[in-house]
Symmetry: C2
C-alpha cells in the first residue's frame, strides 16, 4: 500500500484504489458492516479468504484507521475488529458497488449467505 506521501496522483479515485483496490479489502469492510467481528468469522465468508491475506488486509485497514482492533468480554483474549467512523463512511461506496453488481452481473444476490454459523 502506498502511503499518503507516495500518491500516484491527487485524483481521489486513484488514492482510494491505493487503499481499497484489490479483490479482498472491501469484502472485509462488507463483513464488518454485516456485524462480523472476529478473524474466524471473516474466514467463514463464502469467498474463502486465505488467512495470510486476511491478516495483511486487516493490518492495512487498521493502519489506514478504517478499522480498529479491540477486546471483548464475550471471548476473552481474542482480538475483535470493528469499523471506525471513517470505515463506516464507506457504506455508500459499498452500496453503489452492490447496486451496480446486482444490475449488471447475472447470478448475484443481495443477501450474503455465510458458509457457517458465526
Amino acid at each position: 500500500m502506498k502511503s499518503e506521501k507516495h500518491k500516484r496522483s491527487p485524483c481521489p479515485v486513484a488514492c482510494v484504489l491505493d487503499i481499497l483496490g484489490d479483490k479482498w479489502t472491501l469484502l472485509i469492510v462488507r463483513d464488518m458492516l454485516f456485524g462480523r467481528t472476529y478473524f474466524n468469522e471473516f474466514c467463514r465468508s463464502p469467498e474463502g479468504i486465505a488467512t495470510n491475506i486476511l491478516a495483511d488486509r486487516l493490518e492495512k485497514l487498521v493502519h489506514q484507521k478504517l478499522v480498529e482492533k479491540y477486546t471483548t468480554t464475550e471471548i476473552a483474549g481474542r482480538d475483535a475488529y470493528r469499523l471506525t467512523s471513517k470505515g463506516k463512511s464507506l457504506k455508500p461506496v459499498l452500496d453503489a458497488v452492490a447496486k451496480w453488481g446486482l444490475a449488471n452481473i447475472e447470478g448475484t444476490e443481495a443477501k450474503l449467505k455465510s458458509t457457517g454459523s458465526p
Copy 2:
C-alpha cells in the same frame, strides 16, 4: 479475471471486485468518462500506467462488454475505445469512490490534471 462461471460467491460486491478489483481498471473507466479515447491518452494520465497493464485491462474491459473498440476517421487506423452503456453505468460507483476519497484522503483534488496534451 474470473468468468461468470467461476464466481467466488453470489455477493454482488465480490463479483464486481472480480472485474474491477485492482489499482488500474477504474482509472481507465475514469479516463473514458473524461472523454479520453486513445491508448496513448490513457498512458498520459498522471498515474503513469504501464503499457502492458493498460493493454491487459483494456482487453478485459472489452471482454466484459464495459468498453468497445472502434475506429475513428480522426486518426485513421488507430483503435479507439469508448464505454458501452454498461460501462457508462459505472459512473455512480466512480462518483461514490471520488466523494469518499475527497472527504477522507488529504491532498486529493476533484479535477484531474493530465501530464500532457491529449
